[in-house]
């Protein structure tokens, strides 16, 4: 099966890439087409490789910053899974394995850019400056949606698969209308999964973005699975190749390589800001954990696959790079771990003390102003609650 082969080829890609740093560009041409297209700037072993289209000048401070982001978001995720196991959260969708895709793309955004996430983009949320507590409020079920999207230009988590691609495209066309296009223009990034690419919405968003040249970057994290369904249920061609049929560029990036995700997203966002229209980025990665805490992946996938992907861990390679290039003291890693533990501790403590919302608040914000019916329902509900207060007093 063609697709299966492509997947296997891509997963053996690290071996090819290892030799690439020391070899010439001719080696690139030797690889099968899918691999030749995969942008990688940092190998799983932490070796820096160059790519003609994506030069990345990055300072030691920036690399340390990315490493810190990666470790902290993994820690938040780890803490949230534990909180769910202990009954403190209703559910959690883990980002384990996708940290580089999220941090790399998240750090490529400017403050005025707008991001539309799925339900798994905790790493992007972190980069946008959203308080992790806001995420937990949602998964603990003490808020309706979570946060004000305009505060950090980070839209609400969207759990109806694919819809956000159209919201993002409409938002991008709004930016266009406002004339915020040009060198210091604004752009939109929208996140979605490999499974979502089968939805009509996503394909319709591609068409609208394309014919309107909208400033939107489609960032697909291909984590190989949509709950229990592997990629070959969704597509017979590599996902990034779909873009060409819609008339805009598509690029596949090593989603476990934070440098490559940063460089590729930066370039695509800048192109969008400058009026060059949309790009599809396929971040080739792996969902290391369950779909959500209610899922049991052993029912449908082999653990060997997970073991293979562990060798391509997105954090370990940055650590190896920092060590190899002697950019940090070893104590740096301990400091980051300590900071991550502290953030984790804060998340845990705050989660356990979150207040439940007031019952009557369920009638708020249904409409701009209260309708007569809403007011009547609320009054009836208040009277109903009061009847219990009376009962209690009588006992």
């Amino acid at each position: 099966m063609a697709v299966k082969d492509a997947g296997q080829a891509a997963s053996s890609q690290s071996r090819g890439a290892r030799g690439r740093a020391s070899r010439s560009a001719a080696a690139v041409a030797d690889r099968p087409p899918e691999q030749a297209e995969l942008v990688q700037l940092l190998t799983p072993e932490g070796e820096r490789v160059k790519h003609p289209d994506y030069p990345l000048d990055i300072t030691a401070a920036e690399v340390k910053g990315l490493y810190r982001d990666l470790v902290i978001v993994r820690r938040i995720d780890f803490e949230a899974i534990a909180l769910q196991r202990q009954g403190e959260l209703g559910i959690w969708a883990s980002l384990l394995g996708q940290e580089a895709a999220q941090v790399g793309s998240g750090r490529a955004l400017g403050p005025r850019d707008m991001a539309f996430p799925t339900y798994r983009e905790h790493g992007v949320a972190w980069c946008r400056g959203l308080d992790p507590m806001k995420l937990l409020e949602l998964f603990r079920g003490v808020s309706h949606g979570g946060w004000d999207p305009t505060e950090h230009n980070f839209h609400l988590y969207t759990i109806v698969i694919g819809s956000q691609t159209l919201h993002a495209t409409g938002y991008a066309m709004g930016i266009q209308r406002d004339g915020a296009v040009g060198e210091d223009g604004e752009a939109v990034i929208v996140y979605f999964g490999d499974g979502a690419t089968s939805q009509g919405d996503v394909n319709e968003a591609f068409i609208y973005a394309s014919v309107n040249n909208a400033p939107v970057v489609f960032f697909c994290q291909n984590n190989q699975w949509a709950i229990s369904e592997p990629l070959e249920r969704q597509s017979r061609v590599p996902l990034y190749q779909r873009a060409s049929g819609f008339g805009f560029p598509g690029v596949r990036v090593d989603g476990n390589d934070v440098f490559a995700c940063l460089a590729v997203t930066r370039k695509a966002m800048q192109a969008a800001r400058e009026g060059q229209g949309p790009t599809l980025i396929e971040a080739y990665t792996y969902r290391m954990g369950a779909h959500t805490t209610t899922d049991d992946p052993t029912r449908y996938r082999l653990s060997a696959e997970l073991e293979a992907w562990k060798l391509k861990d997105p954090i370990e390679r940055v650590k190896q790079y920092l060590i190899r290039t002697e950019q940090v003291e070893m104590s740096f890693f301990d400091e980051v771990d300590a900071e991550a533990a502290e953030v984790g501790g804060q998340v845990r403590a705050a989660c356990q003390t979150m207040p439940d919302p007031l019952p009557e608040s369920m009638f708020d914000d249904v409409y701009t102003s209260r309708t007569a019916q809403n007011a009547a329902e609320r009054a009836e509900f208040d009277a109903y609650l009061d009847s219990f207060v009376g009962e209690e007093a009588a006992r």
Binding site: G90, I159, Q234, T294, D295, P357, S361, F381, Y384
Partner: protein, 326 residues
Amino acid sequence: MADVITYREAVSEGIAREMRRDPSVVCLGEDIGAAGGVFKTTAGLFAEFGPDRIKDTPISEQAIVGMAMGAAMTGVRPVAEIMFSDFLACCWDYLANEIPKMRYMTGGQVKVPLVVRTANGGGLGFGAQHSQSVENWALAVPGLKVVAPATPADVIGLLAAAIRSDDPVLFFEHKGLFASKGETAPDGHLVPLGQAAVARAGSDVTIVALASTVPLALAAADELAEGGVAAEVVDLRCLVPLDMATVLASVGKTSRLLIVEENPYQGGWGGTVASVVADEGFELLDAPIRRVAAECVPLPFADVLEDQVIPTTAKVVAALRSLLAY
């Protein structure tokens, strides 16, 4: 097979019985294969019937339902799963414009014998987009049959009738009932569509309920029985066809009617039941018809709020008391 099964197990059992009986029955949906469905309602089917009859589809509700229609036109009996009933909105064109109109527009020449099964309802803290009770959406479309069982045996019996029906059927499985247990159904069990059940007999007041509100009504009836009140509980089982004869017969005995529904009051199915009783049974009544329905707000994630948005036993008891005191 054990004598007692869960509502969840009854779903796969009901499908399996029909699939063994009729090779033209096929299932399609997201994660229904090796994973056995995200609610485990198709557990075991993939192992028994294989990938040709239990098909994992790409994620597209439009494709699932739209293609089920095409397949049904060839004589296949598709049983399509839409994971959450909220996502019926993602394929509503096919359910509202195409599927229910086929027979009519072809003068009865084309039939689309398909079933769309879906997990409906709230109470599990899944929030505004994964918790709605949307059986009333379907009620607004002539041409669809609408089924919503309350017990494991009814799941099996109604699935048999739905799958054998030559009309398209929307089959609502309630998420809050999946873990509930009940007697299983004997072999060959079939519950005809459009026959309500009297779940508890009584003479003082009638409670009309559906799916999740049946156990609520029964609990409320138990509570009132302690005070000597005998409530009759009618489980509608189906909204289309709607068995008003059973409702009217019950109101004829009790003269009082309370309707308990999980969909919002505004546009809820209880409005239809109430209007028929007002039209055809006005003289039977000794008190105004009352409805306990969900508040007209989106479903909150917060348990403390969600518990209050949808009907509770306490609300049903309170409504019954006021009705009896009228």
